[in-house]
């Protein structure tokens, strides 16, 4: 058979396939483009005014604020529920704590008792007024062992009597007092300036007792207080939020937000006008930032960054300071000083992330622009290794860098770090990627000598990074770092009420951690987000906060 004939047949068959697909597409769409949004009509009828925002989402493990512990859940919860206080992002990107369901609060002279006055107009979705009793019920419910909250201790554990409730020895926390329907008093065990920040987390949000006690699946029909109501949750398919007419600030502009939970290629969906918002991966960033590409005009810019929206997080390589060879500070310093983080961030990661100098991300309280990092210095690195008890690279034991993940090859940035250790220090570090569940299990047992991980802020206070990750008694101190001077600074900062002094204490603590090379800080991430031009008011905060209440969608 002639090859021409074969080619002709192949082309013919492919043509047939194309025709078949086209016919089916036209039949199914009724001649439309096939890109009709799935949620154009829903249980409440067609959208009227305010518009509909279409986004990609994922199934939240829970919509119960008391047990929420992940960003997926929190991103829906903060729209449906609310608490006494919340974060607001100013136009310059600054985050501050503002009253939410509480219209004001007073702090006692000893800094331990917060008296919150609830707004007269604070109501649940069903119109029932929110009372101080609702808050007491919600917080105590979160603390009770039966609720299985993994966050109650972190966010509410400072309240007097909370530990008794958390351990099942009491059913009520004496530190939560209801003075009257609109007055709630919270007393904490010591004056802790970061306590208010903790109350912005969903664990402290208010719930409607009748709603919660209506059955185990009450979160399918939550009666919250936030700007949006949940009107549809089809597992794995979509979540639809609709504006709450009883919101205390009045109904928000956006009529509806539809989260597609099983969407595939989000960039193409955005370009085909199937969704209004999408994240941009590193594969697409070049074409999206190309000024000749119309997409570049839809890329969100954030204060403090020429491109992308900085996040309150950090990625790092950590040394296990309790085991050899990283129990020797000179070895740690050698490993830190032999890596040019800035070069890797700019070349391998193409400048998409912000190289980290210390622990706290830029813009975070106590961020110290004058912090002195150990810095990239191969000669100093070699000198540090020579001064260690190992003397040289040849004297070091076998070193393995462990990171969570899979696949045959490590990410390019990790390969670059290994290469710099090899070139600048003469140390051949091996890498192993471990599936996440196994990684966590081994990490908690202190099994890794050298590992790479990240940390995302839970609340905006240096306590959340420096105290939680480096205090010697903290369970999250995975490097096993112990430094009496650092502990003293962190303990003092916890209860220091003068803000300027507190900031100075944390800055000294951070410098100590950096000087002692507990981590090799790598980078803080940025989010690159495209938003359709018909959407107004969409912002990308550095942290999960209610972000849809100022959004409107035009035609």
């Amino acid at each position: 058979m002639g090859s021409r004939r074969l080619v002709a047949i192949l082309v013919g068959l492919i043509g047939l396939l194309v025709v078949a697909v086209v016919i089916v597409a036209v039949m199914v769409t009724g001649g439309g483009t096939g890109t009709t949004p799935a949620a154009e009509t829903g249980p409440t009828g067609p959208t009227t005014g305010g518009g509909e925002l279409r986004l990609i989402g994922s199934d939240p493990p829970t919509l119960d604020p008391a047990v929420s512990e992940d960003a997926d859940s929190a991103s829906y919860i903060v729209e449906i529920f609310s608490g006494l206080v919340t974060y607001e992002m100013a136009a310059d990107g600054k985050m501050s704590i503002v009253p939410d369901l509480a219209e004001k609060w007073d702090l006692s002279a000893d800094g331990r008792t917060y008296t919150f006055t609830l707004r007269a107009g604070a109501r649940f979705h069903d119109g029932r007024p929110v009372t101080a009793q609702d808050f007491k019920y919600s917080m105590e419910r979160a603390m009770k062992p039966a609720t299985l909250s993994t966050t109650a201790d972190t966010y509410l554990g400072d309240i007097v009597g909370a530990q008794q409730v958390l351990t099942g020895r009491a059913t009520s926390a004496v530190g939560i007092e209801v003075a009257d329907d609109r007055t709630l008093r919270l007393t904490i065990d010591a004056p802790k300036p970061f306590f208010l920040a903790k109350l912005t987390y969903p664990t402290a949000f208010v719930l409607d007792r009748t709603n919660v006690e209506s059955g185990r699946t009450w979160t399918s029909r939550p009666n919250g207080t936030g700007p949006f109501k949940l009107i549809e949750w089809q597992l794995g398919q979509r979540i639809v939020l609709e504006r709450n007419p009883n919101y205390y600030r009045g109904p928000v502009q956006l009529q509806r937000a539809t989260f597609l939970l099983a969407a595939g290629a989000s960039m193409t969906m955005f370009e085909n006008n199937e969704i209004d918002v999408t994240g941009v991966s590193s594969f697409d960033i070049d074409r999206v930032t190309d000024p000749t590409n119309p997409l570049s005009k839809q890329l969100i810019t954030c204060p403090g960054a020429a491109l992308g929206c900085p996040q309150f997080d950090i990625f790092y390589v950590s040394f296990n300071t309790r085991t050899a060879p990283f129990d020797d500070p000179n070895v740690r310093k050698a490993f830190v000083r032999s890596v040019n983080v800035e070069q890797i961030a700019n070349v391998v990661l193409r400048g998409l992330y912000v190289p980290a100098k210390g622990i706290l991300p830029p813009g975070f309280p106590a961020y110290n622009s004058a912090l002195k990092p150990l810095g990239f210095d191969p000669e100093a690195a070699k000198a540090a290794l020579a001064a260690s008890r190992y003397g040289s690279a040849a004297g070091l034991p076998r070193i393995v860098l462990t990171l969570p993940g899979g696949g045959a090859t490590a990410p390019g940035s990790v390969e670059a770090i290994l290469e710099q250790w090899r070139t600048n220090l003469g140390v051949d570090v091996q890498v192993q990627q471990v599936e996440f569940a196994t990684f966590l299990s081994q990490l908690n047992r202190g099994a890794y000598g050298l590992f790479s991980l990240g940390w995302i802020a839970d609340y905006i206070d240096p306590h959340d990074f420096l105290d939680i990750l480096f205090y010697s008694q903290s369970n999250q101190n995975h490097p096993g770092y112990r430094n009496a001077e650092l502990d003293g600074l962190l303990e003092q900062a916890r209860t220091e009420r003068d803000e300027a002094t507190r900031i100075r204490l944390y800055q000294r603590a951070e410098q100590l951690i950096v000087d002692d090379a507990v981590w090799l800080p790598l980078w803080h991430t940025k989010q690159y987000v495209l938003v359709s031009q018909r959407v107004k008011g969409y912002r990308v905060p550095p942290f999960v906060i209610p972000s849809l209440k100022d959004v409107s969608v035009g035609r």
Partner: protein, 309 residues
């Protein structure tokens, strides 16, 4: 026949018991722990112990297994560990339904293309049309879905803008076209080759020669004698592959945003969500048992020569 079916059905619980036993103990003795995954980097030993206790994970393993089996027998698949307060049944049945819908449509496409092509190839055995059909259908199945997906995507979504990029709207919705075609492309070669082989076997039979000898028109020879008999082995293949429909097609589902069971199955492994993992294993095992039995039964119906005792 009914005795045979009854015997096979009586074996099914034992098969499921073995599957549940192996899955349960592999999950429990493998590395990783659902409580540690849930706590992530906020692990605290006392909190972890409390959670394990509340979830019943601190009880003796044998007791946990027996309790699980007792519940399953009562029709209760338990609650997910990751998706709090969600009955496993609620989590998985919708997704299995989606995977089955997608699988059925792609299988129907494969059969609709593969059966006629296989028959045509057999009728032109050794000639250029035969070679062309076999090689053309082999091509997409030899290429990984990692290649066919982007190509189909580029043509139908990005260039022609005929189809949506992702999402799901059910069996009669436009979103099903691309994932179904992607899966069908990979499956068509198998159907074509099997149909060709089975047709060739029939073509040489005496009854076909007799039909031709008595002057029956060729379309009737092909339609009544060759096609019908060649389809008999195909029924087995189709019935057997029905069992695999509930497994989902992880890559295709993931890329096109189809909320099938594939992604949930993988997620339940990484989050050590044992109840979900167990339920998926049991349902997949059950569907294979049923599909095998159905294949045997259908085979005996379409081919009266086959008798089971």
């Amino acid at each position: 026949m009914s005795g045979y079916i009854l015997r096979r059905l009586l074996w099914a619980p034992f098969v499921l018991l073995v599957v549940s036993f192996v899955t349960f103990f592999l999950g429990l003795y493998g590395p990783g722990d659902p409580v540690e995954v849930r706590l992530g980097q906020r692990y605290e030993p006392e909190l972890a112990e409390r959670l394990r206790h509340e979830l019943g994970l601190d009880r003796p393993v044998g007791q946990q297994y027996l309790e699980y089996v007792r519940k399953v027998v009562r029709g209760d698949l338990g609650e997910s560990i990751k998706f709090r307060n969600r009955p496993v049944a609620e989590l998985i049945f919708d997704r299995i339904g989606v995977s089955v819908q997608l699988g059925l449509v792609s299988m129907a496409l494969s059969l609709a293309i593969g059966i006629p092509l296989g028959l045509i190839a057999a009728m032109h055995q050794g000639r250029w049309l035969d070679t062309a059909i076999v090689s053309t259908t082999l091509l997409p199945s030899a290429i990984s879905v990692f290649v066919t997906i982007p190509v189909l995507f580029l043509v139908f979504v990005r260039t022609l803008k005929l189809l949506p990029a992702g999402g799901w709207g059910g069996i009669f919705d436009v979103h099903i076209i691309l994932p179904a075609v992607t899966l069908a492309l990979a499956g068509t070669a198998g159907v074509t080759r099997m149909m060709r082989a089975s047709s060739l076997e029939v073509v040489g039979q005496d009854y076909v020669r007799t039909a031709r000898a008595k002057g029956l028109p060729e379309r009737l020879v092909v339609g009544r004698h060759i096609l019908r008999n060649a389809l008999i082995p195909m029924t087995t293949v189709v019935m057997l592959s029905l069992g695999s429909l509930v497994e989902g097609a992880f890559i295709v589902e993931g890329f096109y945003g189809v909320p099938g069971i594939g992604a949930l199955a993988l997620d339940s492994i990484s989050s050590r969500d044992y109840p979900v993992l167990m339920a998926i294993s049991l349902i997949v095992a059950l569907s294979f048992v049923v599909a095998n039995l159905a294949a045997d039964v259908v085979y005996s119906v379409v081919d009266p020569r086959i008798r089971y005792r």
